[in-house]
Symmetry: C2
Subunit: 322 residues, 2 copies
């Protein structure tokens, strides 16, 4: 097994070499080039390459599908930015802001088809299994995004409903990345299923940690302004867990939610979350889902050394220093 | 071979039975149900079923892919209506108007993935060929839509560039419907290619006829208000052919194009088109592309009786009564 940063480099090169942003007309493909060169952690291709390497010792076989899964992820970002009217992405203008809404829609559609094309570059005997999993995952992601939008209009979202939503919106894609990588590496369906579950649980832990960092993260490290979720009344694990308590603090939080966006609002909500010990609630949930990921990992037939590589990924993503 | 109306009925039933609009959450799948029940000619599934029947005498084998190709077509309509800010579709509110832009985007994305899933329901030995053709077609459709949007901002679009655009935006989908149907029926790649070309040429003729009808059609038959293209300065075969003449009439047309939308504008442009004999120019082009479709059809190994069925479809779609 290689280091995580080595898989990320492999993914980066494969994305560059795939030339998905080089077609004609440039008005369609140029924005794809822009979106795909923006970098990011390349987490999904990394997970796919790791899984292919772990089961088959040949991560190269998963390079095209790894590009495909990153294309899919970035397609969702282009469309999500339109739906959220979000002008920035990874510290730059979003495609919607740099071009326009129509470009983000149409170049996004193109990326989804390119994603399906790249994902399909697997052995004939794997094609149907891989494709079916990819399509099923995509439907879960849309369902998750739809629930996320629906939740914005709801006053009471249970923590259970919120977890279901992030498992669809974020977890399914990580699970699918891991499972397809495993299959390409020659894993049994049973091993692929276990690694799917590993990915879903890792994605859940990752999203809860991301929710915590949006309020309690180090501004120098987090990469986005702190407090954006509070400012925008975004449903987060913090908010749904706090409101579910239905006590005086929850009532105070409801009053703060009703305020217009401001620094005062961010500070007030942060103080309530602290009083309710929400950082600890998050940390506990992250630990639980990380632990569930490890339990799923243990069920695979992988050697201890290979399991260790995935464990490192969990630790890296959930901030636990072990 | 069955009658065209029988294939349309088969497609209609298959679409109903597929339950693509029945999932959860209803906020995601309900709009798909609405879009897919709206009817229309079901031209693309009809062509696929006809091709499967012609080569394999078993159109039932193409039912799921026929639903897939109709899902793809309707996905493009949902997104096109957002891009064109179009509030009506088939005499009803568009999804964008009935719900909102975000719903049209996300339910449209869902339909593209459902389309890929249904298209994939073919024999294992056909899967890669069918999927590759489907993805290549989808990219052509996006390129055509992008060119169409780019043309809106251009003063001079050559008739050749316009034909290339409609062959991508409309022709490729008809070609792909025919080719995949043929493959499912057991056709050779050579026959599938010939039928692909048949579909592209048919689609080209069909689009030019549609352009003519938008200005010169019978309001009682056309189904949309006459003159909409003139009103909105839409590039059509009429407009690009007329402007390409670069004579006094073309100059007069340019002046009319600069006017605000009004009944006067529609009448003035119509009169110029008549003086330039544009209806005859269209009719000639429709005849040429219909003839090219028939030439492609002749190159297939189909029996004369089966070729006759496809010929009837050409005549039906291009209004030629033979």
């Amino acid at each position: 097994m290689k280091r995580i940063s080595d898989y990320a480099l492999m993914a980066e090169e494969a994305i560059r070499d795939a030339g998905v942003g080089a077609g004609t007309p440039a008005s369609l493909y140029g924005p794809i080039d822009y979106a795909m060169e923006a970098g990011g952690k390349r987490l999904r291709p990394v997970l796919m390459l790791m899984a292919a390497d772990a089961f088959g010792d040949d991560p190269e076989k998963a390079l095209a599908p790894a590009v495909g899964i990153e294309l899919f992820h970035n397609f969702t970002l282009l469309h999500d930015d339109v739906m959220d009217n979000s002008a920035t992405r990874r510290g730059r203008e979003s495609v919607m802001a740099k071009w326009d809404v129509n470009t983000a829609i149409l170049s996004g559609d193109t990326m989804l088809t390119q994603a399906t094309r790249e994902i399909s570059k697997v052995d004939d005997k794997l094609l149907r299994n891989v494709l079916d999993r990819f399509n099923a995952m995509a439907l879960e992601v849309y369902e998750g995004q739809r629930l996320d939008m629906d939740f914005e209009k709801m006053e009471n979202v249970s923590p259970e409903a919120y977890i279901e939503m992030i498992q669809k919106k974020t977890g399914a894609l990580l699970g699918c990345s891991a499972a397809i990588g495993a299959l390409i590496g020659g894993a049994s369906d049973k091993d692929a299923e276990a690694l799917y579950r590993f990915g879903v649980m890792l994605g859940t832990a990752f999203q809860i940690e991301d929710d915590r960092l949006d309020t309690f993260g180090d501004p120098a490290v987090f990469g986005k302004p702190i407090g954006g979720d509070i400012r925008n009344n975004k449903q987060t694990f913090l908010m749904v867990s706090a409101l579910a308590r239905n006590d005086e603090d929850a009532a105070a939080l409801r009053a703060v939610i009703a305020l217009e966006p401001s620094d005062t609002k961010v500070k007030a909500a942060t103080r309530i979350y602290e009083r309710m010990e929400m950082p600890a609630v998050c940390t506990k949930a992250v630990a639980e889902y990380s632990s569930a990921a490890m339990t799923a990992l243990k069920k695979t037939s992988l050697s201890p050394e290979k399991k260790e590589a995935f464990k490192k990924l969990v630790e890296k993503l959930t901030g636990r220093k072990k």
